[in-house]
């Protein structure tokens, strides 16, 4: 048992300290695909990574009438049921951010996707072992965004 704990702790240490780069708190990708194609690529990749799209929220209703430049602005809510339930149950403060969101909007024939780096949620939890989850989410967001970039080639 002690051996197992020893290996587990070292594993946690490496996962937490591995230099998996993250540029900053905001993750972004711009694709030359039009909005519908980018949205399709996003949802396909999300599902391939094992996540569920829980809702697609329109943000732009009424905005074009006010002079806003695009009528294609959506927020995609994403998560894995068991993980969201576990986190919200253990850390109710996280509920304000769950499920995580990715915004996607058209811009002059291109499409931009933005999300908060999931690592920012680490600030709200105490258990280091749970932080590994956010590291994986971060890695998955990068991977999804890589897929979207690759889809334009």
């Amino acid at each position: 048992m002690r051996t197992m704990r020893h290996y587990f702790l070292v594993l946690v240490f490496f996962c937490c300290t591995a230099p998996h780069v993250h540029a900053d708190d905001l993750l972004m990708v711009r694709t030359q695909q039009a909005f519908p194609e980018a949205m399709l690529a996003l949802q396909t990749s999300i599902r391939e990574h094992g996540y569920k799209v829980t809702r697609v929220q329109r943000i732009d209703i009424g905005l074009t009438g006010m002079g806003y430049k695009t009528d294609k602005y959506r927020v995609v809510f994403v998560g894995k049921p068991a993980e969201i339930q576990y986190l919200v149950n253990k850390y109710p403060a996280l509920a304000a951010y769950m499920p995580p969101q990715i915004s996607i909007f058209a811009e002059q024939g291109e499409t931009v996707l933005v999300t908060a780096n999931p690592m920012i949620y680490s600030e709200m939890i105490e258990d280091d072992a749970d932080k590994i989850l956010f590291r994986r989410w971060e890695s998955d967001v990068y991977s999804v965004f890589d897929d979207i970039r690759a889809a334009e080639d």
């Binding site: 799209v53 905005l63 403060a93």
Partner: protein, 355 residues
């Protein structure tokens, strides 16, 4: 503990060490790193958009590798460009190498010679020749470059010369050369051609360098938001249903439109099987939303506004995101005022709901 389980854990451990080592020792690919971290603002081919058009020859041929490295490391606090602190030196170097590849000209060597001029005279010249684009005290052109917040036909927004990131990255000689030669393809024209002498230009450089005294103070103010909690959370003295009703009333009283009320697990689990003790209220003020998106379209990822009510162990908590903390994520100080206003609105809303 079975022998098999220990072996599985040992294997996992060795695999993680191997993955760690590969991550550290594999040679970084500048094009991939650029694609991941830079292209969304600077464009796939370095033609710009939100960020500076790095491939512009008058730019890339006039800046040293050191300038690029320091710019990546320091970013431009409050001006969108983030500080990429967690990239390794090799990764930063690979990105610089990729950017450098857009020009056949060799990288100019960094010259750290201190330019000595008369800053007082430089201030007067700055007021007559530079303020129109670079703003009072070098605050930079209006708009921080995020699309929709400026006219797209403008190729570059005049940089904030009082920005700590800029001052840390740019040498005196680089600033002098830029003023002297201008930047072809941008609104920056040669001040030598405009009639200034070399001494005048040295004076302007000294004035710009004097911004360092106040720039650090400005950055400290901007960093203040980083100490804010990411979440605003209050205990409700009421039961879950009553708290939700109070919030609905408070939302209307605060001139927001309630969009919908649903369970946090909506869409995550089968309909009807959601946890009924976790409720989310979505609401919006469209005028406010328009202002925010016009300043920075990226804020949409925290919209529409929402308040979450969770009952656990008989206690009801109301939580929202903290806009003041989130403003830090965008590195756009034009958003700060809006986020402050939004923070106040959330606080009033929560206070009204638990009165």
């Amino acid at each position: 503990m079975s022998f098999l389980k220990i072996n599985v854990i040992k294997s996992l451990f060795l695999l993680s060490i191997l993955a760690f080592s590969l991550n550290v020792f594999s040679a970084p690919h500048g094009d991939e790193l650029y694609g991941r971290y830079c292209s969304s603002c600077h464009g796939k081919d370095g033609k710009g958009g939100v960020g500076v058009p790095l491939a512009l020859h008058s730019f890339i041929n006039s800046v040293s590798d050191e300038y690029l490295v320091k710019t990546i490391r320091h970013g431009r606090p409050g001006r969108i460009m983030p500080a990429f602190l967690s990239l390794s030196d090799a990764q930063v170097s690979a990105i610089v190498g990729h950017v450098r590849g857009w020009s056949d000209a060799p990288a100019p060597a960094e010259d750290t010679t201190v330019v000595k001029g008369n800053a007082e005279h430089g201030e007067k010249l700055f007021a007559s020749h530079c303020v129109q684009c670079h703003g009072e005290a070098g605050m930079g052109g209006k708009g921080t470059g995020v699309t929709f917040s400026r006219k797209r036909e403008l190729p570059i927004i005049a940089p904030a010369l009082n920005n700590t990131g800029f001052l840390a990255a740019a040498s005196d000689v680089m600033i002098r050369d830029t003023i002297t030669l201008g930047r072809e393809g941008t609104p920056m024209t040669s001040m030598l051609v405009a009639g200034l002498s070399e001494e005048d230009i040295d004076d302007i450089v000294s004035y710009i360098r004097s911004f360092e005294k106040t720039a650090a103070e400005l950055e400290q103010t901007l960093n203040g938001a980083g100490s804010e909690s990411p979440v605003i959370i209050v205990d409700s003295p009421y039961g879950l249903d009553e708290t939700v009703e109070n919030l609905k009333q408070a939302i209307t009283d605060q001139n927001f439109t309630l969009i919908r009320t649903d369970f946090l697990e909506h869409g995550l689990v089968e309909e009807g099987k959601e946890n009924k003790k976790q409720v989310v209220l979505h609401f919006c003020n469209f005028g406010f939303l328009f202002q925010a998106l016009s300043l920075d379209p990226r804020v949409g990822m925290f919209l529409p506004c929402r308040v979450t009510v969770v009952e656990k162990d008989g206690k009801v908590k109301i939580s929202t995101i903290n806009p003041k903390r989130l403003s830090k994520l965008f590195n756009n100080h034009e958003l700060d005022e809006y986020c402050e206003e939004m923070y106040e609105a959330y606080i009033t809303l929560l206070e009204d709901a638990i009165l």
